[in-house]
Amino acid sequence: MAQVTDRSSFVHKTLAYAGLIFVLSLILIPYSYIALTAFKPPGEVFEVEWLPREWSLEAWRYTFKTVEFQKYIFNSFIAGLGAAILSIFIAVPGAYIFGRKQLRGKEIFFYIITVALLFPYVLLIVPITITWIRIGLYDTLPGLWIAYQIFIIPFALWILRGFFAELPPSLEECAMVYGCTQFQAFYRVMLPLARPVIVSLLFMTFLIGWSDFLFSNMLTTGEGPRTASVILYVTAVGGERVEWEVLMVMTLMAGIPPVLLYILAQKQLMKTFAVRRR
């Protein structure tokens, strides 16, 4: 690259950085406020001071000991993980067929599934709740996993189909000439190639389960596998006083794992969503 010397590009750079800093502060300022508030004693929560005058672990103690929030975090984790794994088992073979195989009425099927993406799934919550109670899935983790698939699957199919359709058509043929059965061609060639996309999907579908509020709230009880976001809500609306410092602790606990996961999955995510270059 040539050295940037002229004035207009200097201005351009300055403006770009100013923009970046502005956007970044929109995100970072609230987050740091959350983190700091989590360490304030209840009396200090409404003060405008940024740093707590007296660092307190009271809110943390309350969250872990009294609410036992870690239990619900674990529920969230299992709900997300199960939803993610189940969706991969359904969506990968499905997308492969939609993307690469000749099938009568394939296009129509796919459009129907895509329409499901547009359907406001809030409307489904009552029938699902009733059905789940009837067939014994109410208040169970598998009940949550399956309920999430309703909107995860169309979304996952949509992303994966595009990926499979883009791979050169002769890849499987080549695998089959060199000794693979149809299934082996899928398993040994297509699946490894799809790995970055699958990892990205795992990440995104995990997030759906992790942060879901609606289904978890409707399909579980306090005794069952209730997830963290429901507890967050209950903490916010229940009681005489909103315990902001506790809410902030919970927010941090619910917010950090996805960030960590993102860092782990980042390389694969970039591969999936970056513009493909040859």
């Binding site: 050169p168 002769s170 043929e173 080549c174 000439v177 060199y178 000794g179 693979c180 060639v189």
Partner: protein, 365 residues
């Protein structure tokens, strides 16, 4: 020489879209053990479909179309045919390195020991100059290297035949010529039957022991490169092969004493005995074909006619001269430099023993 049969294609019919489109109409081919046959034809002529039927990637309409070493394989899956296919769009497995790509078929087959696989991969890598590249991923290879890897993957299988579907089409011109020679050299060394599909006549002529020219799902002619060039079965083969292309003139046959004469508005040409014996007097609507190198420009002779030089194209060792007479274009190729200048009027003669006659259906007489 006794031909040992390698691959036979018998009355192959393949239709698509519920029989509405016939890609192969009764294709018959016989590829001897160790032979390199080129399937040549314009795009859409059914050559690739034929090859894919042989490989098992398409299923023929008839049950006994494909035979390998005397065994009917028409309904076997591709993996059970012991054939190696090289694709046009250089299909390497992107997630595997070069070594694993080359050994893919052997790894799948599970009949070779690890040492044997290693040995074969090394051998193929040496043959194709890939030793340095074995640990690279396909996206780190140039087009030529990638296609060599694809060849390597085919070679290590030690298959009954190589099937190559325009493997050089995606390479640039210089590389294509280099790889062409390489493929022929390797084929000569391994003596594995090979079917090579191309639409490039130069590739076909340089590579093939035999060439099968196809058009509209029908094999037009099977023969050696020299037969295909010098004895085309019909007008299509005559025009499809040869660059610059053959000259064609409508004509009729009349007699002059004991001689037969080819007559058109342009010429009045006595026909040599050897050719004349196949012709019948009074034939109308014939087409006379003559390749440019047999159109000579020279002194006025009894059978020559006048033409004007319109354009001269040097082709290196040869020169292509475009002539015009009575509104018809005639192409002539001479060795070396053009003996004439653009705009000049010259006398043109055909070397009559090199002339073809095609009947009204296009068949050579």
């Amino acid at each position: 020489m006794v031909k040992i049969s390698g691959i036979q294609v018998k009355n192959l019919v393949k239709s698509f879209q519920k029989g509405t489109v016939q890609a192969c109409k009764n294709v018959n081919l016989d590829i001897a053990e160790g032979e390199l046959m080129v399937l040549l034809g314009p795009s859409g002529c059914g050559k690739t479909t034929t090859l894919r039927c042989i490989a098992g990637l398409e299923s023929p309409d008839n049950d006994d179309a494909i035979w390998i070493k005397g065994r009917n394989v028409t309904r076997l899956p591709p993996k059970d045919r012991n054939l190696a296919f090289v694709f046009q769009d250089i299909t390497l497995f992107p997630h595997l390195n070069v070594r694993k790509n080359i050994s893919f078929g052997l790894d799948m087959r599970k009949t070779c020991s690890k040492e044997e696989i290693d040995r074969r991969v090394q051998e193929a890598a040496r043959l194709l100059h890939l030793e340095e590249l074995l640990d690279r991923k396909p996206n780190q290879l140039s087009g030529g290297q990638a296609q060599r890897v694809a060849l390597g993957r085919a070679i290590v299988m030690e298959p009954d035949a190589f099937l190559m579907d325009e493997p050089l089409a995606n390479l640039d011109a210089a590389l294509r010529i280099e790889m062409r020679t390489e493929i022929k050299r390797i084929q000569r060394k391994l003596l594995t039957s090979t079917i090579f599909v191309t639409h490039d006549q130069e590739e076909a002529l340089t590579l093939g022991d035999t060439i099968a020219v196809m058009k509209d799902g029908v094999v037009q002619q099977v023969g050696t490169p020299y037969q295909i060039y010098h004895q085309p079965a019909n007008i299509f083969v005559g025009t499809f092969i040869g660059a610059p292309p053959i000259n064609l003139f409508p004509c009729s046959i009349q007699s002059r004493g004991t001689e037969m004469i080819a007559i058109s508005d342009l010429f009045y040409l006595p026909i040599p005995e050897a050719i004349a014996k196949n012709l019948s007097l009074g034939s109308q609507n014939l087409t006379l074909g003559i390749r440019p190198e047999f159109v000579t420009i020279g002194p006025k002779l009894e059978n020559s006619f006048l033409a004007r030089v319109t354009l001269i194209e040097p082709l290196g060792s040869r020169t292509l001269i475009f002539l015009e007479a009575k509104g018809r274009e005639i192409r002539s190729v001479v060795q070396g430099e053009a003996p004439v200048a653009e705009g000049e009027a010259v006398h043109v003669t055909f070397q009559m023993e090199r002339v073809f006659f095609f009947d009204s259906t296009g068949k050579r007489i």
